[in-house]
């Protein structure tokens, strides 16, 4: 693999040399996964288990006049039927930070429709029966009286006055005074700094363009699946693959009106999430069926269910205008971002408005967002939610601006790159570098100077993602043979067991192979937030290191006891307790101390729970070479380079894998992925055959450049590495196509029919 590592600053923190951090030891999840031993959500079973099946709406928008499930209930083998009547009503309120606010009134309606079905595939009843076949037969016996309503799929159409309303009384939030009329616009947000009009007035050149993007699915290979059981005291257990079993627990308890402590969630191995498994779908239904029937109940989605009823990220309609001085300094930028939320409010448009212009130092900026409901599945998080969408628009315009003033597109970005202290449109100043370093890494990369052939083109783009910290818990236990168990509450979707083991081994001074990292269930470890926002290596890593440090303190105390010296006489170096100054005692290794634990006070272990602040954002700059078949409109990706600031890579090949994966998902988004609906709002391509994520032969080997600008707030300098890699991809591909054929593609996906149609039009300016 062609990997470069760039360390713009002198080696990290202090003089300490790292032994394991930054290497690529064997991943602990690898062998179980490739030998079929790993247990995913669908792999769990219990005696007496029933199969759950879900009745889904055939209509894009309809009022539910009545549901008659008496025939289904009477079918032999059917043990329970549930509808929304089995779930308590929730209060209408938005809770939590605005960027990720939750409204349980919406959530309960998304998992089980109440007054209306709002998209094809919307769940409205569920059955538990002794076999899958009986459960499915029972669904066909449920009689639903629908009043079919006009529907709306497109975001611009949904915003029009007179559009069919999903919620007849929804008044747009964020407008003062609030509008009198209900609409599909759930929220308007606006950020601004400086004086926009003055900025544009001072500009020598201004470029404005409109863009549209299609909603795209996260495309995880594992469909949602879970097993739930209840005991006769009303306590429940759930086995489910998710990106956060504590969140599954909290949401399920809330929707079923249970105490959080009465729900125990076991983390199953996860077959991909990319943000889409931070929410719940089948878990409360399986739990409700289990509670009602008294049996364990298993529910597995089909791929069709996944496409029709689980979150894609938003499609969008956007306008971006950028003003620049002839010398290349940006003076003004304005963006309007209209996002499809799907059937319930909560698109990632706020992220989009914040991230779009974040890589650059622009004195006058306005960024406006609209969160718009329409008759599609509710959007869910997808890898740097929102940021890739606004970046597609912003970075396409940046490319056009650079061309207009005759400047190299990377140099243009470098001149304007944000640094520590650069203001952001949402208020605080950037607190970390990294943006310019990724641009310099691409400028220095041989790919940037490589020659191009006929119908070939090169594009570049940059991107920003917040990254996150937050609540995490870890325990570290020393076994009697000197091996160590590290448990965390973080679901491992991107290699966290490996990175936690590395950080623990590095901190304790022992071998990586002597550390076993596991993911503990919700009753066995402290609260840990979702594996999302690229937060785990950072926040859970801090918890692990903190617990290791507590263990080291204890190990030193045990050594002091063995040596009969004061604790402050003992220090921990290189995996052993050492007595300060004197050479009288040989150092005591962790293994030697562990062997004497019973004599020196019993089990050795520690727990740490943190709410980690100080996460540093991710920046990425990427290069794409394409070749366009001008007779078919087909675009071939010839080369793709990802330069990303990762702070410091803990497990190197896992970090490379994240960067490659983000690029690949972005390439699919750029070229082929889209939902195809008929006039009645039915999804026509609910499967991987016609929802075209890339296959291996569509792709070159993705080249990765690990830029390492350490985050001083993390013990090893780590920054979240999972998400920002996808942010620049669609713009980089679009800019490369423009470079190849002189056509600016302003609508995703840039599929062959669209590219061919563009070739038949006159070349752009």
């Amino acid at each position: 693999m062609d990997t470069k590592v760039i360390k713009p600053e002198a080696e990290g923190r202090g003089d300490r040399t790292l032994k394991i951090v930054g290497t690529s030891p064997v991943r602990p999840d690898g062998v179980p996964k490739v030998t079929g031993l790993a247990r995913y959500g669908a792999d769990y079973a219990l005696p007496g288990m029933l199969w759950g099946a879900i009745l889904r709406s055939p209509h894009a928008h309809a009022r539910i006049r009545s549901i008659d499930s008496s025939k289904a209930s009477a079918l032999p083998g059917v043990k329970a039927v549930i509808t929304s009547a089995d779930f308590p009503e929730q209060k209408y309120e938005f809770v939590g930070p605005e960027r990720v606010a939750i409204n349980f009134w919406h959530m309960t309606r998304n998992v089980m429709a109440r007054e209306k079905v709002l998209y094809e595939g919307h769940a409205l009843a569920a059955v538990a029966a002794t076999s899958k076949i009986i459960a499915e037969a029972a669904l066909r016996l449920i009689e639903v009286d629908y009043e079919v309503l006009p529907h709306v799929i497109d975001v611009d159409e949904a915003m029009q006055p007179g559009a069919p309303l999903l919620f007849e009384d929804m008044i747009t939030r964020g407008i003062d005074p609030p509008p009198n009329e209900a609409s599909n616009i759930a929220k308007r947000i606006e950020f601004s700094i400086g004086d926009l009009d003055a900025g544009f007035a001072a500009a020598d050149e201004i470029v404005e363009m409109n863009f549209k993007t299609a909603p795209v699915h996260q495309g995880y290979i594992e469909p949602h699946a879970c097993l739930a059981r209840f005991d006769n005291k009303g306590q429940g257990e759930i086995w489910a693959a998710s990106q956060g079993h504590f969140v599954v627990r909290a949401f399920t308890a809330r929707l079923l009106d249970m105490n959080i402590g009465d729900v125990l969630v076991h983390p199953a191995e996860i077959g991909g999430g990319f943000g889409g498994k931070t929410v719940i779908y089948v878990e409360p239904l399986a739990a409700a069926l289990s509670r009602k029937s008294g049996h364990p109940v298993k529910i597995m989605m089909s791929r069709e269910d996944v496409f029709k009823a689980t979150g894609p990220t938003s499609g969008a309609s956007m306008t971006v205008r950028i003003g620049v001085k002839r010398d290349g300094k940006l003076v003004a930028a304005d963006g309007v971002f209209k996002f499809q939320a799907g059937a319930f409010p909560g698109s990632p448009v706020m992220n989009a408005t914040m991230c779009g212009f974040a890589p650059y130092n622009i004195p006058n900026v306005r960024s406006v967002g609209y969160d718009v409901v329409c008759n599609r599945p509710k959007s869910a998080a997808y890898r740097a939610p929102g940021s890739p969408i606004s970046a597609y628009a912003v970075e396409s315009v940046m490319d056009a601006v650079a061309a207009k003033i005759g400047m190299d597109p990377l140099q243009f970005r470098l001149v304007n790159a944000c640094r520590t202290g650069t203001p952001t449109v949402w208020g605080p100043k950037h607190a970390h570098d990294g943006c310019a370093e990724t641009l310099k890494a691409l400028l220095a990369h041989p790919a940037y100077a490589a020659p191009l052939g006929r119908n070939q083109g090169r594009g570049v783009a940059s991107g920003f993602w917040f990254n996150n910290g937050g609540e995490s818990s870890a325990t570290v236990h020393v076994n009697e043979d000197g091996t160590v168990v590290v448990a965390t509450g973080s679901m491992d979707i991107g290699g966290s067991r490996a990175s936690m083991a590395i950080m623990a081994a590095e901190t304790l001074g022992i071998e990586y192979e002597d550390v076993r990292a596991i993911v503990a269930d919700t009753a066995s470890i402290g609260y840990t937030h979702v594996t999302g926002g690229s937060r785990v290596t950072y926040a859970t890593g801090i918890a692990v290191v903190e617990a290791c440090r507590k263990v080291i303190t204890e190990l030193c105390a045990r050594a002091a006891m063995i040596w009969s010296v004061e604790k402050d006489q003992v220090s921990w170096e290189d995996g052993s307790a050492r007595r300060a100054g004197a050479g009288k005692h040989e150092p005591l290794s962790l293994k030697a101390i562990a062997a004497k634990r019973a004599l020196t006070g019993g089990p050795i272990g520690a727990e740490a729970s943190v709410n980690a602040g100080g996460a540093a954002p991710g920046f990425a700059s990427e290069l794409c070479d394409v070749e366009v078949d001008t007779e078919t409109g087909s675009v071939k990706i010839l080369r793709f380079v990802v330069a990303q600031d990762v702070g410091r890579a803990i497990h190197r090949s896992y970090v490379e894998g994240q960067m490659e994966g983000g690029a690949v998902q972005g390439i699919g988004w750029a070229l082929n992925e889209a939902y195809v609906y008929d006039d009645a709002g039915h999804l026509l391509n609910a499967g991987f055959l016609d929802y075209r994520i890339p296959v291996a032969s569509d792709l070159p080997m993705i080249e990765t450049v690990l830029v390492e600008v350490p985050n001083p707030n993390h013990p090893f300098g780590a920054k979240g590495a999972g998400e920002v890699n996808i942010v620049p991809v669609m713009a980089a591909v679009a800019n490369a196509i423009n470079n190849a054929i002189g056509r600016r593609m302003t609508e995703l996906p840039m599929s062959p029919p669209k590219v061919l149609a563009a070739i038949h039009t006159a070349p752009g300016k």
């Binding site: 075209r692 890339p694 569509d698 062959p752």
Partner: protein
């Protein structure tokens, strides 16, 4: 709950008797790569599955009268790995190679690809261009039919109740013959043709095309034989002018639908492009067999 019977007869006669006795409720099971998916989706609910993979003449590949005869239930992998066949019919082989993954090809069959009657089936335009003839057995005895006469429309064939395609015969080839098949898909593999084009041609000693057949897939309700496109090549040296006329004739023959896989305009245009490109490959292959 409905019941499905499964039978695996060892002879053609037994298979025909089973099918004829099922009152239209039977389906022939070859590789199952289409049928099982349709059953799982509830699109077909057969009462009887007749598995034909145990019938010898349906699963063997043999030389016959200077040509090749292969069983309709021979797996695609057996066919693409048959070196003598691949040398003689590289275009048909290319088409069969495009069906699904290696794993799918290990089960899928060319007879199934034909009888599933998808307008986008990859092997069908290549077989039509090759002039393949199907042997069909049914309650009324044995008959032969050209491949282009078997599909009738999406999911429909001209086969009578109880009839089975037993084998496909590819005729002996004159010297200086070549064939090619190309398809357009948004992805490089694991995809369904948006347009497919098969070309088979023969040159004389001076390089003039004496015989040509051109077939298009996914641009009509079934794969089309396009004699007008072939006529553009016959009598020419397959030069730029002839190729241009071929492309125009191919586009003119299209009567596609617009669907989730492509627009009408796109299919019409790309059909001409692919026919021209396939003819270029067939020409190269024919010249190398001079």
């Amino acid at each position: 709950m409905s019941e499905i019977l499964y039978e695996a007869p060892k002879t053609l006669e037994a298979a025909v008797a089973l099918l004829a006795g099922a009152g239209g409720q039977a389906r022939v099971l070859a590789g199952g790569t289409d049928l099982l998916i349709q059953m799982r989706a509830g699109r077909v609910v057969p009462g009887l599955l007749v598995d034909i993979k145990g019938i010898v003449e349906m699963t063997t590949i043999v030389a016959e009268n200077g040509g090749f005869r292969f069983g309709a239930a021979a797996s695609c992998m057996e066919l693409v790995e048959h070196q003598a066949f691949a040398r003689e019919w590289p275009g048909v082989t290319d088409a069969v190679k495009l069906i699904g993954s290696v794993q799918v090809k290990g089960r899928a069959t060319v007879g199934g690809n034909l009888c599933n009657a998808s307008p986008a089936a990859d092997s069908v335009p290549a077989l039509i261009a090759a002039g393949a003839v199907a042997r069909i057995v049914g309650p009324g005895g044995t008959r032969e039919a050209r491949v282009e006469d078997i599909p009738a429309g999406p999911g429909r064939t001209t086969l009578a109740d109880g009839e089975i395609v037993v084998s496909l015969f590819l005729p002996p080839r004159p010297a200086r013959s070549g064939d090619a098949y190309l398809r357009f898909t948004p992805r490089t593999e694991m995809d369904i043709a948006v347009v497919g084009a098969g070309v088979n041609l023969t040159l004389d000693e001076t390089g003039v095309c004496t015989h040509a057949r051109v077939s298009l897939g996914a641009v009509a309700e079934r794969a089309l034989l396009v004699p007008e496109a072939a006529a553009a090549l016959i009598g020419s040296k397959v030069d730029e002018g002839a190729l241009g006329r071929l492309a125009a004739a191919a586009s003119a023959a299209c009567r596609p639908i617009a669907d989730k896989r492509g627009t009408r305009e796109f299919r019409v245009e790309v059909a001409g492009v692919l026919a021209r490109r396939a003819a270029g490959i067939a020409l190269d292959r024919a010249r190398r067999k001079g």
